[in-house]
């Protein structure tokens, strides 16, 4: 890898503050950390911040992942023809089957200055329309959840590959050494489990830290045995013993790195719980995220945590909407009930996150991504459901380097297949890396004799959506 570590002098005051995680009181700590980052080799502190390939538009990512597959024609891709032909046989067979078209039960309206069409499922997200760059022409390869989720999160449907967050952290390191660089948050288990945020063949340090229990977010953070003073004394004694051991072994930098890792661990014990603690957020903020209401509380907490973490320099935060099942958007039946429930649970928190990021000046260099592993069929499954459909679905991006208030691409008149400006998952990944200042063809890792990429041999940056 040719990326270098960001020297202290390249850090802005604001970056230093963010890196320290707690404002001016921690300036000395920030300086200490920066010193450490520049003193140890990248191989030893794989999470040390690194410069991108070129100037970045976004410095960090929040990916709001919607497992199960939200329906495009009910959310961000209105189809008057579908409404008109409700109940008629679909002109397109799906997986060889004849099915009847099913109109969306929700109305669309023009939202924001830009007048983007957003369904009434998302009144609050709709109010943020001017931030949204809606891609209506997403294409994926897999018709089922396991392969679909893996492709969206790792680029590959079957074989084990590093996740998007792992690649990003590998490319850029992270800005706060007291927190993991890549954090995945979901209240429930995930289909395909750890592979969705794993490091696969990349060094294990780049894997996502999965947080399910918000009260106890990171393992072994609490010392149940001794108080901080005594622990400090013990660590000093440990350092003495390790320094004695290092005599005559000075050439082995791993030994020093391990000594320092105990110091970082000591600091994480106090810094990490603070980052995960929502109690000091104002009532207004909690209300903004919907934490004050039962229906929006869980995803609201996830979203507020995401803001706190990126604010403190975490590089990649992925939220999984998994309250109410491990793939809650999978409405093979009762589209109306299921999608309404999911939209209700996520709409206010998502809009709250966008507004809060914007108000804090973070949205300009934070990339927010929303979407599932695929979309759903415009034709009905049974009488009131929709089946999986990966060949034309909607996702949106907001913030860091994308144009707000625009749509990109189009599906056909019924909302089946992407026919204009197709964006394959590989293209989306290439674009995300581009926004972060990484060339998807150059971000490689040699494994089993070849240089692997997130985008394999595919991927084109979607230039049309860049601000």
């Amino acid at each position: 890898m040719t990326n270098s570590i960001v020297p202290m002098e390249f850090l802005s005051r604001r970056q230093i503050l963010r890196r320290a995680g707690a404002g001016f009181g921690s300036l000395a700590l920030a300086a200490l950390l920066a010193d450490e980052a520049s003193a140890s080799a990248p191989a030893l502190n794989p999470l040390a911040p690194r410069l991108p390939h070129f100037a970045a538009r976004a410095k960090r990512v929040i990916f709001l992942f919607m497992p199960g597959g939200p329906s495009q024609v009910d959310t961000f891709d209105p189809k008057p023809r579908l409404t008109q032909d409700n109940g008629k046989p679909s002109p397109k067979l799906y997986l060889g089957q004849k099915r009847n078209l099913l109109a969306s039960p929700w109305k669309f309206s023009k939202r924001g200055q830009s007048g983007l069409d957003v369904s009434e499922l998302f009144p609050h997200v709709g109010a943020c329309a001017d931030h949204l760059c809606i891609i209506r022409s997403m294409v994926a390869d897999d018709v089922n959840h396991p392969g679909g989720c893996l492709q969206m999160n790792t680029g590959e449907r079957v074989a084990s590959r590093p996740s998007l967050g792992a690649w990003v952290t590998y490319g850029l390191g992270t800005e706060n050494q007291n927190l993991p660089g890549f954090i995945a948050i979901g209240p429930g288990p995930l289909i395909e489990g750890a592979r969705q945020y794993g490091a696969s063949f990349l060094p294990a340090a780049f894997q996502g830290t999965f947080v399910s229990d918000l009260q106890n977010p990171i393992r072994n953070l609490k010392n149940g045995q001794v108080g901080p003073d005594r622990q400090r004394q013990e660590l000093d004694a440990l350092r003495q013993l390790n320094e004695l051991h290092r005599e005559g072994r000075a050439e082995d930098s791993r030994l020093n790195a391990r000594i320092e890792s105990f110091e970082l661990a000591y600091r994480m014990q106090t810094q990490a719980p603070e980052a995960f603690d929502l109690t000091h957020e104002s009532r207004a903020t909690k209300r903004l995220y919907g934490i004050d209401e039962k229906t929006t509380e869980v995803f609201g907490r996830q979203c507020l945590l995401a803001r706190r973490l990126v604010e403190r320099g975490v590089r990649f935060v992925q939220l999984y909407h998994t309250s109410g099942g491990f793939q809650p958007w999978d409405q093979h039946s009762d589209l109306k009930g299921g999608h309404a429930k999911n939209a209700l649970a996520t709409d206010r928190p998502t809009a709250g996150l966008l507004q809060d990021l914007a108000a804090r000046g973070l949205l300009t260099d934070t990339l927010v991504i929303w979407g599932g592993e695929f979309g759903r069929t415009p034709a009905a499954e049974g009488t009131n459901g929709r089946d999986h459909h990966p060949f034309g679905f909607s996702m949106w991006l907001a913030g860091g380097g994308v144009r707000g208030g625009m749509t990109h691409g189009a599906t056909d008149e019924f909302g089946w297949d992407a026919i204009e400006g197709k964006v394959h998952v590989h293209d989306l990944h290439a674009t995300i890396l581009h926004l972060l200042g990484l060339d998807h063809e150059k971000l490689t890792y040699r494994y089993t004799g070849r240089d692997f990429r997130l985008t394999d041999v595919y991927g084109d940056v979607v230039k049309a959506i860049l601000a």
Binding site: N45, S160, G193, R219, K222, G224, T448
Partner: protein, 300 residues
């Protein structure tokens, strides 16, 4: 044929056989059975030196941290050249002669003088061969995930070395870490392995990584099971060395680090254990500290 492995992109029907790129024109079609037996025979046939080389290189890597070929999954065009080609061939030939005995190969490697070299490097050796390609010294090696936990259990005197049995998830179960649960979907998979760079069970991993990250230190400092093992270790030391603190410090160093402590280390230990400090769990905490040392996880 599935194009790029995609079951919906069917290519032409290809009869079962060895890839031409490997066999050249001596390609014999496989007309009966699944081809597995033919593959095994082909891999292990007398005029194919590659299989034995690859295997002994793996065994060498296991003992030295690096193989004689440092790209163990790639002996081809883009792989590294062997640092000691004659040695690799000698070992490969001996391996085949011994009837492919892995045990005999372990013995041969471990009885060699190169395996028994010290890892303390002199300045000259460091300057001329920083990567230790010539094996003038032994490589200092970090314990891998399983060995970290097994060593902690062994020090505590609690390791159950019984072979076989069902997989387990609870770290407190004193069985060997080899049997920690690992499943493709992650269900019930212990996250201990990931913490210490255990191989991803879904990937072909030729060499494990060796990261040094703070969550590992958090495990050593705060994990309740480590605390329990430190307590067990303290009880064991008290049992085995009923004398005074100094005798116990000596016993502790012998058990955990396999050597006698230096005077400085004894002094530091006695200072931490001094009764004036008024801490009744001082011994347990001291044992815990010794388990956290670099020396415990880096093998010279």
């Amino acid at each position: 044929m599935f194009v790029r492995g995609d079951h919906k992109r069917l290519g032409p029907t290809v009869p079962r056989g060895f890839p031409r790129v490997l066999t050249g024109d001596r390609r014999e079609p496989i007309t009966t059975s699944s081809g597995r037996l033919q593959l095994a025979d082909w891999l292990a046939r007398a005029d194919n030196p590659l299989t034995a080389r690859v295997m002994v290189n793996r065994l060498w890597q296991h003992h030295f941290g690096e193989g004689l070929v440092r790209t163990p999954n790639n002996f081809g065009e883009r792989g590294e050249r062997p640092t000691h080609p004659e040695l690799l061939d000698f070992l490969a030939a001996r391996f085949v002669e011994s009837g492919w005995s892995v045990k005999a190969m372990h013995r041969l490697i471990m009885l060699s003088s190169v395996y028994q070299r010290s890892s303390r490097a002199d300045a000259n050796s460091l300057a001329t061969d920083p990567d230790n390609r010539l094996l003038g010294r032994m490589n200092r090696r970090p314990l891998n995930a399983e060995a970290v936990r097994d060593s902690l259990l062994a020090a505590a005197g609690r390791l159950d070395s019984k072979r076989g049995g069902p997989a387990f998830t609870d770290l407190a179960v004193p069985r060997r870490s080899l049997y920690l649960m690992s499943a493709r979907t992650g269900a019930k998979t212990s996250d201990f392995g990931q913490l210490f760079d255990r191989a991803d069970p879904c990937s072909i991993v030729d060499q494990r990584g060796h990261s040094v990250v703070a969550p590992q230190a958090l495990f050593f400092l705060n994990d309740p099971t480590v605390n329990t093992w430190a307590r067990d270790l303290a009880a064991r030391v008290a049992r085995e060395a009923p004398g005074g603190n100094e005798a116990r410090v000596r016993q502790l160093y012998g058990l955990v680090l396999g050597r006698a402590p230096t005077q400085k280390e004894i002094d530091l230990g006695l200072q931490l254990l001094a009764p004036t400090r008024g801490i009744d769990d001082a011994w347990e905490r001291y044992c815990h500290l010794i388990l956290c040392t670099n020396e415990f996880v880096y093998i010279d």
